[in-house]
């Protein structure tokens, strides 16, 4: 990869990463704030991320802020929270055309200032965030949580995770839970906001054509934050493994059942088998060449989609498919059979070679997508040592070293914990 990733520690809680590339029409700035995933953090941080885009002291309404973005050649501002393992990340991204295409030379500094205004200068009074904005966003968030059942496929996956990790922080839904949100007052929220702003680590990543641009001094000038101590988080321990998978059936008005099977793998990104696990899951359920697709769709016509999705921070694997509820036992049996088969026999070397090639290509191809690249970069930085530098070649070599025996070892470590089914019949917990 031709990109140079430079890291500058501006001070102890502000890191700057710059990635210079000339191929994009745009520049992209990402600001990531790392927090610990707890029910409180999930709810509070989500609400904060919504309120901050409702206006700032400088752009004092949602409309004025939006008009400013439009007028700056359609800048795109994203303010959201994401869950990565046991972390809850507040992220802000701003994308805008690179000034080499336009006759507008101030856009970069304007963008930094705009992000700073959004994150640090929200509309607030002595009692906290402005009351009407607070109430609207709180109500909207509660409505959104009630409405999340509308997207059946992702709802089924979320519910599987919630049941499977019902005693761990990781089971927490990314946008919080209704009860916690309901109890938030605007003073509480503002206090929490202050804690986040004054006591968290900030990583700011900038990607684009940064030639001849004093990025560091621009950041220091337009994006200054106080140099305080911040909280370091330890990764959450996994609960002991349940010996027998639990089955949870939940009812919804739905024609096609959504099945999700949850496995603890205990292979997270720090494990020597991590790269092997990524390849193993791809062979198992990553797309139409996968074992599960062949068996469930091609051979048995039991589903239209089937996927295997893992969480690298948590060491978890989820297999999902849209099926007829009556086929549930048949489908889960087939999934177990496929896994059992992969525990006994070795995957063909040729299949592994192709999968490695595909993985290497997709890592290279990440550089074609600025948003994905930035998220990938930040994902790699998460939880690593402070002075760890992301080396793409090192990541690629990790994949190239994987052997078929490693895949077998990963399959042996897959431990089924949960069979979750969203269906059109009655609720039952077995």
């Amino acid at each position: 990869m031709s990109h140079n990733i430079d890291k500058t520690q501006i001070h102890k809680r502000l890191n700057l990463y710059t990635i210079h590339t000339e191929k994009f029409k745009t520049d992209l700035i990402g600001v990531y704030i790392k927090r610990r995933l707890t029910p409180k953090e999930a709810a509070y941080n989500t609400l904060i991320s919504r309120i901050l885009t409702r206006g700032t002291k400088k752009y004092p309404s949602g409309k004025i802020l939006q008009n400013k973005l439009d007028d700056s050649y359609g800048m795109i501002l994203v303010s959201d929270v994401v869950k990565q393992g046991s972390y809850h990340i507040l992220e802000f991204r701003l994308q805008f055309p690179n000034q080499k295409h336009l006759m507008d030379t101030g856009l970069f500094d304007e963008a930094l200032d705009l992000l700073h205004q959004v994150i640090f200068n929200p509309l607030a009074d002595e009692q906290g965030f402005l009351e009407d904005i607070f109430n609207q966003e709180k109500n909207n968030l509660m409505d959104e949580l009630e409405g999340r059942q509308n997207d059946k496929m992702s709802y089924a996956l979320d519910r599987c995770i919630e049941h499977m990790y019902d005693h761990e922080g990781y089971g927490q839904y990314v946008y919080g839970d209704l009860k916690t949100i309901e109890g938030i007052t605007r003073q509480d929220l503002y206090d929490h906001y202050k804690t986040v702003i004054l006591g968290s680590l900030f990583d700011i990543c900038i990607m684009g054509d940064l030639r001849k641009r004093p990025v560091r001094s621009s950041v220091e000038k337009h994006f200054s934050i106080e140099e305080n101590d911040y909280l370091h988080y330890e990764v959450e321990e996994n609960d002991p493994i349940h010996m027998i998978p639990r089955t949870v059936m939940e009812n919804d008005q739905i024609q096609e059942g959504k099945m999700v099977m949850g496995f603890r793998t205990l292979v997270d990104y720090k494990d020597p088998l991590y790269e092997a696990s990524v390849l193993a899951y791809h062979i198992l359920g990553g797309g139409p060449s996968s074992e599960l697709f062949h068996v469930l769709r091609d051979e048995h016509s039991l589903c239209y989609y089937v996927y295997a999705k893992s969480d690298k921070y948590k060491g978890a694997l989820f297999i999902g498919a849209g099926i007829e509820p009556k086929d549930l036992d048949r489908v889960t049996d087939l999934v177990f059979q496929v896994i059992e088969d992969l525990r006994v026999r070795l995957v063909d070397q040729a299949v592994l070679d192709d999968t490695i090639k595909g993985m290497v290509d997709s890592i290279h191809a990440l550089s074609d997508f600025s948003n994905s690249f930035l998220n990938f970069l930040y994902g790699e930085l998460l939880g690593k040592d402070e002075d760890h530098l992301v080396d793409i070649n090192e990541i690629i070599n990790g994949y190239k070293r994987v052997r078929v025996e490693d895949l077998q070892e990963v399959f042996k470590r897959l431990h089924p914990e949960m069979i979750y089914m969203l269906h059109g019949g009655q609720d039952e917990i077995l």
Partner: protein, 422 residues
């Protein structure tokens, strides 16, 4: 032929053959991935055509069914074959077209050969056709379980009497059961014809090289297929079917759709594009996140962040659709009407028009970051008879008066329908 656009700093190279087949290459320096699309201008809307003096009527969902069957395994699974080369293959059917595509970092030539091989041959059996029905039935059921989709479909059903735009691209559970192998083979021969097909490639590639490879891989049999039959375009009646429909699906948050039916159509693709852009600007200007309406009603709690408004169109249909997930969807239409009346009285603001135009120029420029986006934009415009670079030129030419006129003629809620899923 080579086109260049200075603002985008991109060029597009086109080659056209005597039988009407076209190949386009957009070279993109420094990009790792290369994408190729092999498409036919045959989609879900085209269910009637004239062949040998006879009108042929097809079951709904034919184009999509055929797309599935092109993937029928020959010696090895098509997906495996591409994966072995490090490429990933995919296909989609929409109203206007069926596209087969792959993306890859390495082995571009080999993958292109495989793609062309895939599309220019059809091998099916009665048994495989029957088997596919179960898979497609699952796919349709999957969409039917999305209440958003259901609400949207009910809106279309409220706008259109017979126009096939109101049906799922995949057809209906009933229509797919009637599809036969003989029909699939006949349709394939008729519409997978050079004069209705094209190849589009984007990536770090030399156009001349691509043209040579394409010529080497296309079979004589394919290049000598007879011209595609004439499609009977669906009718364009102005009246709506119903002004309101509600379906009870026991959703937690009701879903609202309001569609305004387009009654103005142009045969000239450039005029159609101008109308399309003016309509998209209006959607944003009147109801976008930076509009008076949005600010006012977000504050009052009538709408939330899910509210959106956009315009979609083809040769024979068009509609502005507003949607929201909110607790009280029933009074939204009145608020929308109120806003339209207000703007009709006070007039639109030219500054808003200029702001949105600037935003659209910036967004279009930004979209050229993504090779995949370029490809899908190219395809969607091509299928409407518009060349890729026409967009910016037309956008820059568009004046405020055209948008004002379009506002007065299009935003009439007598031609609208509301769909609610509760």
């Amino acid at each position: 032929m080579k086109y260049y656009n200075a603002l985008l700093d991109e060029s597009l190279v086109k080659k056209e053959y005597d039988n009407g087949f076209q190949v386009y290459v957009l070279p993109k320096k420094g990009y790792t991935k290369k994408h190729a699309y092999f498409a036919t201008e045959y989609g879900a809307l085209y269910n009637e055509y004239i062949e040998d003096g006879q009108v042929v009527k097809l079951p709904l969902g034919m184009a999509h069914f055929l797309e599935h069957k092109l993937f029928d395994d020959k010696q090895e699974s098509v997906f495996d074959k591409f994966e072995r080369m490090g490429a990933s293959v995919n296909a989609y059917t929409n109203y206007f077209s069926t596209c087969y595509t792959f993306s890859t970092v390495h082995n571009f030539d080999q993958s292109l050969e495989a793609l062309i091989d895939l599309v220019q041959n059809l091998h099916i059996t009665d048994e495989s056709v029957e088997k596919e029905k179960a898979v497609i039935a699952r796919e349709l059921a999957m969409y039917d379980d999305q209440p958003q989709w259901q609400a949207f479909k009910n809106m279309l059903t409220g706008l259109y009497h017979h126009h096939p735009v109101k049906y799922d691209v995949g057809g209906t559970q009933e229509s797919i059961q009637t599809i036969t192998r003989a029909q699939l083979e006949r349709v394939y021969q008729s519409f997978y014809a050079p004069d209705r097909m094209l190849i589009f490639v984007v990536g770090d590639l030399d156009p001349e090289h691509v043209f040579k490879r394409v010529e080497a891989y296309l079979s004589d049999e394919f290049m000598s297929r007879k011209p595609a039959p004439r499609v009977i375009l669906p009718e364009k009646p102005k009246a709506i079917v119903r002004s309101f429909y509600q379906e009870d699906l026991d959703v937690k948050m009701p879903i609202f759709y309001l569609g305004i039916k387009d009654r103005t159509f142009y045969d000239d693709p450039k005029k159609r594009l101008l109308k399309g852009i003016a309509s998209k600007i209006l959607a944003d200007l009147l109801f976008g996140k930076g509009s008076d309406f949005y600010e006012k009603h977000y504050k009052s709690g009538a709408i939330n962040g899910t509210f959106s408004c956009d315009y979609a169109y083809g040769r024979t249909f068009g509609y502005t659709a507003m949607s929201a997930e909110c607790k009280n969807p029933h009074n939204l239409k009145a608020l929308i009407q109120e806003e339209i009346d207000l703007k009709l009285r006070e007039g639109l603001n030219k500054k808003d028009f200029e702001r949105i135009k600037k935003k659209m120029i910036g967004r279009h420029l930004s979209s050229f970051n993504s090779t995949q986006f370029i490809a899908s934009t190219f395809m969607s415009y091509y299928m409407k008879g518009i060349e890729l670079f026409d967009y910016l030129e037309t956008l820059e030419q568009l004046d405020f008066e055209t948008v004002e006129e379009r506002f007065k003629s299009h935003y009439d809620l007598d031609y609208s329908t509301v769909s609610i899923v509760k």
